[in-house]
């Protein structure tokens, strides 16, 4: 995967670094503290450390530790009950140093004003999102992800809104906004409108996903671009990744956005004063909030920056897809019921005859085995890759991250090859009833899961429903088995992930070749597992513990003898 994927080389480098006794890059904590203090803020630091489940590309070690620095600007005439946050996440290189500069300049400017009614926290975090998560957990006094962090010495009241800033150059051609947060949560639409308003006021170009809004909605180009933006947003929301620091704030009911400065080949460039003015406007507007942002939509899709589709319009689509599953289940129930009644007809003669076996026929007992085995495979898929990485690296010449991903794929494929012939209990009169009962249970299980997923993260639910529902409804042991098998494999969760990666890059107009796509797929798997352990992202557990066992049930139905 990278230069350091060879464990021997990695160990050598680690030893060298230890000998030099110097981290590769660290936040200049002392300088930041001094500068913030000189501006007039109350400065505090927080150290945190986290043991990663496996070392990935960005942090080439298990133990990641760092320091966050934050300064609080106390509101001159208010009681410090509410606050706003301006955060600059600094990664393991200095790509965000311009943003730190802007943050300090803004702090100096804000300090001289008297109209602040809420405290403002200027937060600089190390290791990007890890630092942000550590700070948020310590601020809200919870421990959701197993981070070890020192408690915060200074607090500023309930956070009403937050803005995360990422600038890599000192001139920008446009300001890009990212809304999708962890597990597909979105900020209130009001915040997005606020951003757009102030950009327009300052004459700053604002973009969504790097593209300007289409001006012309009457011809075909505008709507097509809107569709492209919409699909990209669906894919980003479905991935459940926090696309920026703001994604982690959303979990604590703090509306947040990430603003990225883009320096492209456009002719007119804005300097940081324009960006600063837009930010100042936003903060002054947020200062006036009397209550948390709740008036506008929380669930929406954006075809363009100034247009949105609300949940009332797109939820019925998911509802109809799930209705397909429900109707199919009903049909199977009727067939099972008719089979029962048909079987009992000859036995209805009067007179004391031996009563027939209980009418539940294929009782629930025979379904327990396939269900348990599928769930066990799902559990293995969830637990084994991270647990078994050390064993894997000892026996194979791979790095830990690669070991995790390859173990994932191996268990996934092993599930495909697992034949289940649990048809012992099926009565000889109706051999079909075994697979029909199993399919009934699997359909209801799938509908339940997709329903729950669609309620919390609509894009993920919809994406999985569009791929899995047709295959699930069609799966049966009779008929063209290879065709159904191919369809089922193509719509399995892993294949959906692979396909959506290709689609994502296609929509971004940077299409992938097969080899690149495969590499990206492996990287995405590793990222998914890592994010589940570090931030609590739910994609990995949902797919491995929920949808994969369900999909395995349909695979069993397909290969029922």
């Amino acid at each position: 995967m990278g230069l350091l994927s060879d464990p021997v080389r990695r160990r050598a480098l680690a030893r060298l670094v230890l000998r030099l006794n110097a981290p590769l890059w660290a936040l200049p904590v002392a300088w930041l503290e001094r500068t913030m203090r000189s501006v007039g803020l109350e400065v505090y630091t927080q150290s945190f450390s986290r043991k990663l489940p496996f070392p990935d590309e960005t942090h080439e070690r298990y133990m990641v530790s760092g320091t966050n620095v934050y300064g609080i600007l106390r509101a001159p005439r208010a009681a410090s009950t509410e606050s706003l946050v301006l955060t600059v996440p600094c990664g393991s290189d200095s790509t965000n140093s311009q943003a730190v500069g802007l943050l300090l300049a803004l702090a100096a400017h804000f300090r001289g004003q008297i109209y602040w009614a809420k405290d403002i926290i200027f937060l600089v975090t190390e290791h990007d999102l890890l630092g942000t998560e550590a700070w948020l957990e310590a601020y809200h006094d919870v421990n959701v992800t197993g981070m070890q962090s020192s408690p915060l010495q200074g607090r500023a009241g309930a956070i009403q809104a937050a803005v995360a800033l990422e600038l890599s150059s000192d001139v920008v051609t446009s300001l890009d906004v990212a809304v999708e947060g962890l597990n597909g949560q979105l900020p209130n639409l009001d915040l997005l409108n606020l951003f757009q308003t102030f950009c327009q006021k300052g004459g700053l170009l604002c973009t969504l996903q790097g593209k300007l809004q289409p001006q012309d909605w009457t011809s075909l180009d505008g709507p097509l671009q809107g569709l492209q933006t919409l699909l990209l947003m669906v894919l980003r929301q479905a991935s459940g990744r926090p696309h920026g620091s703001h994604g982690l704030f959303l979990r604590y009911r703090v509306e947040a956005l990430t603003l990225r400065g883009i320096n492209s080949f456009r002719q007119y460039k804005y300097d940081l004063v324009a960006v600063g003015k837009a930010l100042e406007g936003m903060f002054r507007k947020l200062n006036h909030l009397l209550e948390r942002l709740h008036q506008s939509f929380f669930l929406y899709l954006l075809p363009a920056l100034s247009r949105f589709v609300s949940i009332g319009l797109y939820m019925p689509a998911a509802g109809f897809l799930l209705l397909v599953l429900g109707l199919k289940a009903l049909e199977l129930w009727m067939q099972l019921h008719e089979a029962e009644v048909g079987v009992e007809e000859p036995g209805g003669a009067p007179g004391p005859s031996v009563p027939l076996p209980p009418s539940q026929g294929v009782g629930l007992a025979s379904l327990v085995a396939p269900l348990l085995i599928s769930q066990a495979m799902g559990l293995a898929l969830y637990v084994l890759p991270v647990l078994g990485q050390h064993v894997a690296t000892q026996h194979f010449p791979v790095a830990e991250a690669e070991a995790v991903v390859l173990t994932l794929l191996a268990i996934y494929a092993a599930g495909l090859a697992l034949p289940h012939n649990t048809h012992r209990v099926v009565s000889t009169q109706a051999p079909d009833r075994g697979w029909m009962a199993l399919k009934l249970v699997a359909l209801i299980y799938l509908a339940l899961q997709l329903g729950c997923i669609a309620l919390t993260n609509f894009s993920l639910g919809f994406l999985l429903a569009t791929t899995m529902v047709p295959a699930a409804a069609l799966a049966k042991p009779h008929g063209p088995r290879t065709l159904y098998a191919a369809l089922l494999v193509l719509t399995s969760p892993a294949a959906t992930l692979l396909g959506s990666l290709f689609l994502w890059r296609e929509l971004q107009e940077a299409p992938l070749s097969l080899a690149e796509g495969w590499q990206l797929f492996l990287a995405a798997l590793a990222q998914g597992v890592l994010e589940h352990h570090t931030y609590g992202a739910l994609l990995f557990p949902l797919l491995s513990l929920g949808l994969y066992p369900c999909w395995l049930l349909f695979w069993n139905v397909l290969f029922w003898k």
Partner: protein, 417 residues
């Protein structure tokens, strides 16, 4: 049959022990579907610590259990997990033997009626045999393997506590009552029903009209002396009033909280009465209709209590669902079982999802949660009425024959009026 029962108990105890030790315990013990203000273990601990400080536990609005709980758990608070697990296991055993006895009685009665030629000639397939009834007690004991029972074990005074630990918790009486109904031990029945049903003031299946008024008031005359002996300053009003007047409006899976949250004080007394009448109201008609079938009456009554009481939890639901295997033979007469099962499963899964969306994500509100509550309760009500219909229909077929013909010889349809 001892081995399968022992296996069930071992599995149940192991899962409970594992859950107690895991991180899920704290999470589950806070869920509103599982704990209610009346039965929360946290509140019991709070009440006991108040007692240690010398303050009466009833002085605040926190503790709503009866004094017997205080006296019991005062000494057992360190072993609370063990107590819960043991009582759950004892309940399973009690239910097992109770249902076994019941099955014997049913079979005897059936044989008697067959010999007396009370049944129509063509109802052979409706007659129950010992073969099919063999595994029913075990299936009923599987109550302890329901997830709901695990959850309620973790977080509140468990759904069932055996009769000989005199512990006033609602459904402890079914095993006792089943035993005593069949053994015609009226006095014992009184005592169990009385002592064990007063917390929520809800009577259980009961065919003695004499007990009804005191049940309505929420205590039994014989248990009064017990309370007076146990705790002189027992305020009869405290525990009973809480259940009857519904002052605490924490969301739960019942129907009361939303309605009373948006009601003006002026009208709340009237509507409290109307809502509470729903629990008691069906007792007399059901008693009249089902006077020959006390166990079925008790089952229906427990279900009605679980649906209409002021602070239901999933433990109450699990209790009446444990009795479904006893009425297995009614399966062929149930009309809507598929839809209703789907409704109940879907609603059970949607409860935590919509709670999360309301409280944590902030993108839903109480209406969504209450909608699921309504759907869940409607599903339960339809399920109970379906079982009632199936029961009556089977009884009708037994006495009038399975293949009904109308007066002109064509096949007739049975319609419930």
């Amino acid at each position: 049959m001892a081995a399968p029962l022992a296996l069930v108990l071992v599995v149940a105890v192991t899962v409970r022990a594992a859950l107690f030790r895991s991180s899920l315990a704290e999470f589950i013990s806070e869920r509103v579907e599982v704990v209610s203000p009346l039965s929360s273990w946290k509140r019991v601990v709070e009440g006991l610590s108040l007692l240690d400080l010398g303050v009466s536990p009833y002085s605040g609005a926190v503790f709503h259990e009866t004094p017997l709980i205080i006296y019991l758990f005062h000494f057992l608070i360190d072993y609370a997990e063990l107590v819960f697990m043991i009582t759950d296991a004892l309940t399973a055993i009690a239910l097992y033997f109770a249902i076994q006895d019941f099955n014997k009685v049913v079979f005897k009665k059936q044989k008697l009626l067959l010999e007396l030629d009370q049944y129509a000639p063509d109802v052979a397939e409706l007659i129950r045999t010992p073969m099919e009834m063999r595994y029913i007690p075990l299936k009923v004991a599987l109550l302890q393997c329901f997830p709901q029972c695990y959850f309620s074990c973790l977080s509140d005074i468990p759904v069932s506590v055996p009769p000989y630990l005199v512990c006033p918790r609602t459904p402890l009486s079914p095993p006792a009552a089943v035993h005593t109904c069949e053994n015609e031990e009226q006095g014992l029945l009184d005592l169990f029903l009385g002592v064990c049903h007063d917390v929520c003031g809800k009577p259980s299946g009961n065919r003695l009209p004499l007990l009804l008024p005191s049940q309505l008031l929420g205590f039994h005359p014989r248990s009064l002396w017990l309370y007076c002996w146990v705790s002189p300053d027992f305020k009869l009003s405290c525990a009973v009033k809480e259940g009857l007047s519904v002052p605490d409006l924490t969301p739960n899976i019942g129907l009361f909280w939303y309605f009373f949250a948006e009601m003006f004080e002026h009208f709340s007394l009237f509507f409290v009465c109307v809502f509470q009448i729903n629990v008691f109201f069906y007792t007399i008609p059901l008693a009249i209709k089902l006077k020959e079938h006390p166990i079925f009456f008790m089952f229906i009554q427990i279900a009605i209590i679980a649906i209409f009481k002021s602070y239901p939890t999933v433990g109450d639901v699990a209790l009446y669902m444990a009795f479904f295997p006893v009425w297995n033979h009614l399966y062929r007469f149930l009309r809507n079982i598929f839809v209703l099962t789907c409704i109940i499963i879907v609603c059970s899964l949607l409860f935590p999802v919509l709670w999360h969306l309301w409280i944590y994500a902030g993108s839903a509100n109480s209406n969504f949660f209450y909608a699921i509550t309504l759907t869940f309760n409607v599903g339960q009500i339809l399920l109970i009425s379906d079982y009632f219909y199936a029961f009556l229909r089977r009884e009708y077929y037994l006495t009038h024959g399975l293949y009904l013909t109308a007066k002109d010889g064509t096949e007739a349809m049975l319609v419930l009026k």
